[in-house]
Symmetry: C2
Subunit: 339 residues, 2 copies
DNA sequence: GTGAAAGCGCTAACAC
DNA sequence: GTGTTAGCGCTTTCAC
């Protein structure tokens, strides 16, 4: 506190002097190599504590061309980042795997054009060895930057324009088909869908699964497209559907939040769930159990998604021969009482 | 450990050669200094594009002793990280301010002992200029590391053991007192509290505000302590309270999620809300509007918290003389119909 | 086993 | 205005 300037941090040099050895020897010990005598080791360890040495990772990264850090980019619209529990689970899962491998995960938010520009710079700056990209959209500026810079990467989700980059995804299409089929089997004949985020692979695939399941009976006017996987958009979508088809008797909402919004509108309009209308969602997030009646939905293994994506970048960073390709995780249907 | 033959990135040297100038000149242009001729500037700019140059931030950090990056540490139990919308809003707010100042924000998750150990190392490694700490607890290992390493820091929340470090907090105590008073004014006489997270300053302060408001009439047996600000703990807390005091007519839950859990238990037990029991929460998160009836609660300005904390670290990083002290933000009561 | 020396890619003094 | 020269703190041959 006597010096306004932050005190200079100890370097390997200081440790070496204190221990009476050379910098090389200190460095060897730090990197766990053989060929350090017990005597030297003890002197160095004591010196490290004495001078309060902490290695400078910027210097280390510079020479090793490796930072032992992985970036995780979340490119979400505002509202979703705040509300979507899947994101939190993905982060935690990825962090778990990275942490075990002794990598530091740094989550980077892409929330504005400025963020995106700065990120391009940051990613190729040598501060990060690879990157996990959550919820990229097609034509995404981040995807372009990562591809151009040739940074080891793994995507959570599977936008069509990532070439042969590694990705981890769920099979949105067949999961959507499965739950739609299940809904249909409860005897519904006028099933609608609130289709959110059609600009994302997940959104588009869920719609595709829905039409798969309905086959011949599919009626495009029973699909309402909304921008986000949000509660508010679920309400809006349901209002539109109800106006067009007052006799609707089943709804597949493309996320639990959307389903929650839809259920509230339906109930406000006097429809009983599941007696009059069966509703199903997607995610098995905390929304599902908050619905009344509890929501039938598809369980998304978000933690596993994060873990697998982390393992995929790590493989590349550690020098895997092939880029990786994709991994597709299973999503069981969780049937409750909303349909 | 072999690394893949990723192609060598262009350096200032390559740019200099291509443009027919010296490295110094390139560097000057990059750092926006005067004294670069128009001619040189154009040659360099062309060369940068041609060779595909992106500055190496590790090298730059090393010499400048600055990385233009700020870490944001989230030290939350698993479930909360996934469910608490405040965290997302804080992140977004902080990122906004940091981004405007052209700093990269990197969110670091402290989820295991291993994470915490690695973080200490990472923070002092020169890859980060300062740190924002969200939801530190007292006696926190992260707090100790940050203090010991003397890293510019700002806390969101106000644990008692951060010395004179900068912090941004809300006045949990008076906000809790305000909403409790409001609840009491609806004519309730047996008001209980589900007090979550008493190991945190926020949790302890909300309880203190509750007792402030009740004064003489405070009855300790009407307080049920639960570990987390979660829906599940809200249910558990309410069950306990109901068992002890079947005649309870008001509940202050220390978060909206807790309130939601409590309401569901109350309604399952046949109590009408607000007729039989008035329930109020804290946060004004998305839970509040999902409750039926909509929850009366306290609005927490999470985005502002993030913005203010970011501004506080920035001030220190840019060399403010005094450490900063605290900022306390206001939390208006949002009255709806659950009480 | 250990020290000396050569950089990693960049910026900042200081000549010219 | 621009080139030259030192390093920033670290790892890593390569002699000894």
């Amino acid at each position: 506190m006597e010096h306004p300037q932050r005190r200079r941090r100890a370097t390997v040099h200081d440790v070496a002097v204190e221990a009476g050895v050379s910098r090389g020897t200190v460095s060897r010990l730090l990197n766990g190599q053989r060929y350090v005598s017990d005597e030297a080791r003890q002197a160095i360890e004591a010196a490290i504590v004495k001078v309060g040495f902490v290695p400078n990772r910027a210097a280390r990264s510079l020479v090793m061309r490796r930072s032992q850090a992985i970036g995780l980019i979340v490119h979400e619209p505002h509202s979703l980042f705040v509300e979507d529990p899947n994101i939190g689970s993905i982060l935690l899962g990825a962090n778990e795997t990275l942490s075990e491998a002794d990598y530091q995960m740094a989550t980077l938010i892409a929330d504005s054009a400025r963020d995106i520009a700065r990120l391009g710079n940051y990613l190729s700056g040598g501060l990060i060895d690879g990157v996990i990209i959550v919820s990229a959209r097609e034509g995404d500026a981040i995807t372009r930057a990562v591809t151009r810079l040739d940074i080891p990467a793994a995507y959570v989700g599977h936008p069509r324009d990532i070439g042969d980059a590694a990705y981890v995804a769920i099979d949105n299409r067949s999961a959507a088909a499965a739950i739609t089929t299940r809904l249909r089997e409860t005897g519904r004949s006028r099933i609608g869908m609130i289709a959110a985020a059609l600009d994302r692979d997940s959104g588009a695939d869920r719609l595709a699964g829905f039409t798969d399941a309905l086959g011949e009976t599919f009626d495009p006017s029973l699909v309402e497209s909304v921008p986000l996987y949000s509660y508010g958009d679920g309400q809006a979508g349901m209002r539109a559907l109800l106006a067009r088809h007052p006799d609707i008797d089943g709804v597949f909402a493309s996320s639990d939040a959307v389903a929650a919004g839809a259920m509230d509108i339906l109930q406000a309009a006097g429809r009983r769930i599941p007696a009059d209308v069966g509703v199903v969602g997607f995610d098995d997030s905390s929304w599902a159990m908050r619905c009344d009646p509890p929501l039938s939905t598809v369980r998304q293994p978000a933690g596993d998604l994060g873990r697998a994506a982390a393992a995929a970048v790590l493989r590349q960073v550690e020098g895997a021969p092939a880029p990786g390709g994709g991994t597709v995780l299973d999503c069981p249907v969780v049937w409750r009482s909303s349909a």
